[in-house]
Amino acid sequence: MAKTLFDKLWQEHEVETLSERESLLYIDRIFLHERTGSVALNSLLERGREVRRREHAFCTMDHIVDTFPGRGDTTLMPSGKDFIVATRSATRETGIRLFDIQDPDQGIVHVISPELGIALPGLSLICPDSHTCTLGGLGALAWGVGSTEAEHALATSTLRVMRPQTMQVRFEGSLPEGVTAKDLMLFTIRELSAAGGGGYAIEFAGEAIEALSVEARLTLCNMATELSAFTGLIAPDQKVVDYCAGRQFAPSGIRWDQACAHWQSLRTDSQAHFDSKRTLGIAHLKPQLSWGTSPQYCIDWDDAIPLVGDALNASDSAAWQRMQEYMGLSGGSRLSDYSIDAAFIGSCTNSRLSDLRLAADYLLRTGHRVARGVKALCVPGSGRVKREAEDQGLHEVFQNAGFEWREPGCSMCFFAGGESFGDRARVASTTNRNFEGRQGIGSRTHLASPVTVVASACAGYLTADTTA
């Protein structure tokens, strides 16, 4: 019978069928971080359980550690150090490989797991972090869980999982010049809604997907959780194989050949059935910017912010009203009417080398500098990204333009380490969530691609006009 990519991945990991919908799935890799992983490890130790296969479990410091140069265990968050110290001690006690603060490979979990070859096509991978779906961009079966489930996976190498339904999102047309995977995903969330992927594993397909670089695919799948999807997936192709080759934890020799042969089979069969299918035309897609407090509230960057009176029902109308008040925006105005206080390039969505390169190219091409009064930050996703960027001189491009150049971590995506842009700051941000208060008390986050963020930082207001 014809199968989808998801069906194949599910079947390969099925240890037992527990009921009509629930299966016991084998978990190939577990990644933890100091925020939620520390709780899982502590709980495991308290109950006297061991990590069943510690060589398959990893941990990094990204969520609480601060990103100031010369950093140590202390953070602006008063109890931040407790998490860092507890994580270090629990990983030592359980024998889990930790990418500690001074480790050259430390970084954001979803940036370092593909970089190190810990995430690979065809592997199942869980992390107590909702953006674990990022790794679906490689063709891994990866999803976010809570601390209790992470503990379960550590103790048993498995999870009891309700099988999601399958959805295919097919993009028609190719991405216009200057429009990125981030814009593509913001547009997808805008079309499907923040609840639109609920209960589904979503496979993304179409020529635009095939044309994306591996890093861009990671950006796209990263935000599958903003659709409330179980995960996002892209079938691995030769680009992915080339990307994985030679990575530290990737197989080598004959095992590499076996892996490559196996990965060939990881694609949806032509007659396979999806429970739901959506097609989105993207040939004329424009850069997207969010205006509300859920990622689904995006518009073409130069469109008018919707009028509350145009909402289709009373519930939407009330929600739009509340969001526009919170965001300090008026329906009918343009986002370019609003000046920004800050610009942020970073996070598991957009902190890879190609993201930094895109933003730096804009600075090099235009010679623009960050506008007065705008606090601008560039936070590489990992030690490796930072080194490679510095080898190419990108740090100087950013610093000369007025950006701060930081150490790797989640940083101001959610004021990790207790740092924020200030109360009610309006921020152009390459992150994934514009929730109320996400980046600080009363923060007003506008989600966008690295190109739009750097253009806005230099303009001093929200814009995706890169022609200047």
């Binding site: 390969e12 939620t36 209790t148 498995t158 892996a259 959610f414 004021f415 929730f435 996400r438």
Partner: protein, 210 residues
């Protein structure tokens, strides 16, 4: 895990859609490496006008005497979206909540709730409004009864009970308060057998231990 069979309590409305876990418990309110000490941070951005000083926001529904002691939350669709933080569930439980009723839930939140004995009931918006309509007349006396044995919500007698659907596996887990890890440990033999086959089939997927 705390079992769940029946619960009678005050129901409070928070009918916004897409209430995310950053709002349920902000990152800055998760101060210790444990599952406790979270109640004061529940809905901090909405509950306080100044979260640091803990100045209550008198217009927030859970600060109203009408909903004092609320243990059932009526919410909008996609409740618990965003971050996977289980702290959102722990904070709700520590604050006395046993049930959340919403048109839909984010998957990770729902899984976390199930593993901590917090019942999530999916009910369409009109069903929720019907309950709310009755509750609002006298929230402290018009208590809602949630019966997981019968999969029924009892509220306005005139309307009769509202039935709801729960996945049978989840229902069993909640009714019996099962420890999932303990349950899976009964399958350790089949896990080992799977692994031994898998090492032949996908040798590349297995890293060497030391």
């Amino acid at each position: 895990m705390m079992p769940f069979s029946q619960h009678l309590g005050v129901a409070a409305p928070l009918l916004r859609d897409n209430i995310d876990t950053d709002t349920i418990i902000p990152s800055r309110e998760m101060r210790t490496v444990s599952r406790t000490g979270l109640a004061a941070g529940l809905f901090a951005p909405w509950r306080y006008t100044d979260a640091e000083a803990r100045t209550p926001n008198s217009t927030f529904v859970l600060n109203s005497a009408d909903y004092d002691g609320a243990s059932i939350l009526l919410a909008g669709q996609n409740f618990g979206c965003g971050s996977s933080r289980e702290h959102a569930v722990w904070a709700l439980i520590e604050s006395g909540f046993r049930v959340v009723i919403a048109p839909s839930f984010a998957t990770i939140f729902k899984n976390n709730a199930l593993r901590n004995g917090l019942l999530t009931v999916e009910l369409d918006r009109s069903g929720i409004l019907e309950i709310l309509n009755w509750v609002e007349a006298d929230p402290q006396r018009h208590r809602v009864e949630v019966d997981l044995e019968q999969c029924a919500l009892r509220h306005d007698v005139a309307l009769g009970p509202t039935s709801f659907v729960v996945n049978p596996d989840s229902r069993k887990m909640l009714l019996q308060g099962l420890d999932e890890i303990g349950l899976t440990e009964q399958s350790l033999d089949s896990i080992a057998a799977f692994e031994s086959n898998d090492r032949k089939r996908r040798s590349w997927a297995h890293l060497r231990g030391d």
